[in-house]
Amino acid sequence: MNGRELHFHLAGINNQNFLMRDEETGTYWQQVTGAAIAGPLKGQHLTLLPQDELTFGLWKSAEPNGTVLAPLPLYASKYEKADWESEYSKLPTVIHAAKGTLADRETILGVVRNGAAQAYPFSSLTVQSPVLLDKLGGEPIMLVLGPDGKSVRVFSRNLGGNTLEFYGRSAAKVGDPWALFESASLTEWSFDGCALSGELKGQCLARIDALKDYWFDWEHYHPNTAIFRH
């Protein structure tokens, strides 16, 4: 932050999203927005780095020389169980979504383009239908479910001023051969959003930040959000 290295720790909770505090200035920060909400740095924002939420298997095949955060053995017994997501989806919430037909704890992918926010329920993407084309804030975008059936990436479909159309190879189940095609050229593209053949070979679509969140939390911070419908 402004040339100063800060160290954060958990310091409280605000409507089921946690507050952090930095050791250096004592400022309180909201985790989901990265905004300083009280204290000396109030009004500042942490810079969101590009990041991915994906399965370990898919990450390891893409980054064989990568490193993994080691667990702390003393606390390993407190780490979440493999089925934690379905357990958490049953927990009550303290604030409730004001509109829409989604349940408070429906898992969505939140995307913002040019001030327009939209929530895409994870259930809109399936291995049978892994590609979702949309336009948000005037920008043609695409959500793609990866070969692991769990990771979702969002791309701009605008490449050099042209809007591209895509479709995925439908699979019957996770693990079936995965492929992404551009409709006009019928060329194959990777989950990194890059053309693997044809005239555009080597060119890549721009990645778009997306937040995997519960619907109630996304709506709380994006009150004007729309909900994607097919």
Partner: protein, 156 residues
């Protein structure tokens, strides 16, 4: 009766110290106004509670010398409560929940004992990639780290 007033002032001091913990507690809605007040108290409570504790303790000790045993029954808890309140300003229980991660250590991707289907948060900077297992992050919530020389904080 000064002893009674001192006891009330002491309880008010304790209430002030407890207010942020009451507002920022889990499983309860936080309204923006209450959260602002609670964080204001957390940011300013140390000098305020220290001055209140000193003032109330001094007054209570002054009254104590001339007080009867009934008054002393009020004065003793007055001193205890303000001392408790001022000490609590240095302790935020929420900052000690979930063990802070401390200095991170790493395992090579090929050696990590994770299921292929376990989710991770992956950050890649300048060709260096690091995975933060979500089941681990779901407990610790915050990890301060450096990647490719850049100080980062990974949160979940």
């Amino acid at each position: 009766m000064p002893a009674l007033w001192l006891l009330l002032a002491s309880l008010a001091t304790l209430a002030l110290a407890a207010y942020p913990m009451y507002v920022i507690r889990p499983f309860r809605e936080q309204t923006p106004a209450a959260l602002d007040r609670a964080l204001w108290v957390l940011l300013h409570n140390k000098p305020i509670l220290l001055i209140l504790a000193l003032a109330i303790t001094t007054l209570a000790l002054m009254v104590w010398r001339r007080a009867g045993w009934v008054s002393r029954l009020f004065l003793a808890p007055s001193i205890a409560f303000v001392l408790l309140a001022s000490v609590s300003a240095w302790i935020n229980p929420y900052e000690h929940m979930f063990h802070p991660f401390g200095e991170p250590h790493y395992i090579a991707a090929q050696q990590a004992k994770l299921e292929a289907s376990d989710m991770v948060i992956a950050v890649t900077l300048g060709g260096e990639s690091r995975a933060y297992p979500i089941r681990e992050m779901g407990y610790h919530h915050v990890v301060n780290d450096r990647l490719h020389g850049l100080p980062i904080v990974v949160t979940y």
